[in-house]
Symmetry: C2
Subunit: 344 residues, 2 copies
Amino acid sequence: MKTAKVNFTDSYIELAHGAGGKASRRLIEGLLVPYMTGDKPAELNDAAYVEANGSRLAFTADSFVVNPLVFPGGSIGELAVNGTINDLAMGGAKPLALVTTLIIEAGLATSELEREVAAIAKAAQRVGVPVVGGDTKVVEHGKADGLYITTAGIGLTDPRVSLSSRNVQPGDHVILSGAIGDHGITVLLARGELDLEADLTSDTRAVWPFVSALIEAAAPGLRWLRDPTRGGVATALNELARDAQVAVILDEEALPVRPAVRGACEILGLDPLHIANEGQFLAVISPEYADIALKTLRSMPGGENAKRIGEIQAEPKKAVLARSQYGGTRLIDMLIGDPLPRIC
Amino acid sequence: MKTAKVNFTDSYIELAHGAGGKASRRLIEGLLVPYMTGDKPAELNDAAYVEANGSRLAFTADSFVVNPLVFPGGSIGELAVNGTINDLAMGGAKPLALVTTLIIEAGLATSELEREVAAIAKAAQRVGVPVVGGDTKVVEHGKADGLYITTAGIGLTDPRVSLSSRNVQPGDHVILSGAIGDHGITVLLARGELDLEADLTSDTRAVWPFVSALIEAAAPGLRWLRDPTRGGVATALNELARDAQVAVILDEEALPVRPAVRGACEILGLDPLHIANEGQFLAVISPEYADIALKTLRSMPGGENAKRIGEIQAEPKKAVLARSQYGGTRLIDMLIGDPLPRIC
């Protein structure tokens, strides 16, 4: 066995290590990747690629531990399907099949389980992807939190697209599919721990139809896709800036944020750019295909709020900057800590 | 959406629903399958088949919640890799790639996590299968039990074999790869709750090398494969008898059971046929290939204890019977209840 070069000195695992921000990155890059890849510096994507008999498959799995199980606009079962479909879509892959596994806390009402099984089936049928298998484990009362779901997915990549941070170049445009922060703030408020209310629903949805349309309309210009879930848009773009050794310059005013999300974030001291989304994606597109890509997205139901939110520049490398209309510039960092645990 | 014909009336989910026996079967067939397949009576296999560009892939995922995390002969990380490799092998598929997801309880020592990450990497390297991706979630202290691991796997089926209970015919031989009950009894004793000790280790291992050799030696005769995990050999064979509408007649004396397992089972009132295994498999093989299959297994390191344990008969349909040397016959039922929770 290869020797793993571990670079992770925290003594205990804390919630922040699962938040998708800096601590997650340290855990993954410092402990997990060295063992799994034996130091080979791997590009961490939402879905991995596997060659099988000449076909390039995308393969992914995600665990879902969202609390509460049900929230305005969705529930854990729907999230578990959409999240995995979206990871495949971010790999430019048409979803082929899903497998779901359940970890159930003993004492869960069958009605709650049935509601989530129905949600899984409905979400899968909506994108026409079969759930072909599964596994069910039950743990003692007090050893889980109702229900955890893991969904694995395989998809078939489209040979017309090559998606990688390595393809990203200065001058490329950054497009965002819609308003940000809806999911994270919705789940946070659904916990009822804050004296805050807002007319807001999760954005959970499968984005494959949008990606499929983008491939048809702008495949040669598609450089990189990412769904900004845990850690939000800020973390996803910081990872891009670092991996591609470029700067991402955001137009602060162009960022689509609903007033309810902006208001909740102001009260809570959070930045909408750090809030998780479950039905949006970022696309980096070459300048000559940016207009047709944006037009394509905006012509689709649910894509009306797609926007060009920034561009790629050569310098300052590995940084994400947001420019305001007054000419000010602020540095956008990755998420640090875990202000919103168990959001997905 | 299709309407699901649910046939599951238990009000709450209990440990037995995850034990792999009758209650699991009722939950899966009564609630899960109706939603996922819309009533299409599905054969429930360890791995599902997915067509991709003309290739037949096997696709599976399993969650592991074993308690304790470490036991003589293995640990959760090794189990999570071997179990998924074995599910692919039972589908006649050469494993291509794995993805692992972790649900970590906040407060887990990094040293414990690192031990399991190393175990995952080592087990995967042992069978030459890459871990190509993953996901990490952290839940609050008290919302899990240290660590739960889900492993998804894809494999490429061998076109020379067609494995299905539908292929099983009267006269076929039933072969078992080695001694049974080691894993379940080892984990049970590792909990230290019983005043029992035994010199026993888990049998966790990847059985793909054995299956690969069987395919080379006896592909035309291979009818059905199954790894008797939760619910044990008795449950796996009862499922076969039911699905294939045949009788499985076991030779009680031929069953390989170590004295330590037999002793513990006698004290605890358990049947070794109901105890989980994590490194054994059952094969139904046509008579003309049974000898070469057995010879092949026995010639391999770790396969020395492979045995012919019984045969398929036409009647009594849907039953598993064990014959003793004294001429007595007993009916072997599926596992009922959950005498050994969280064994995998």
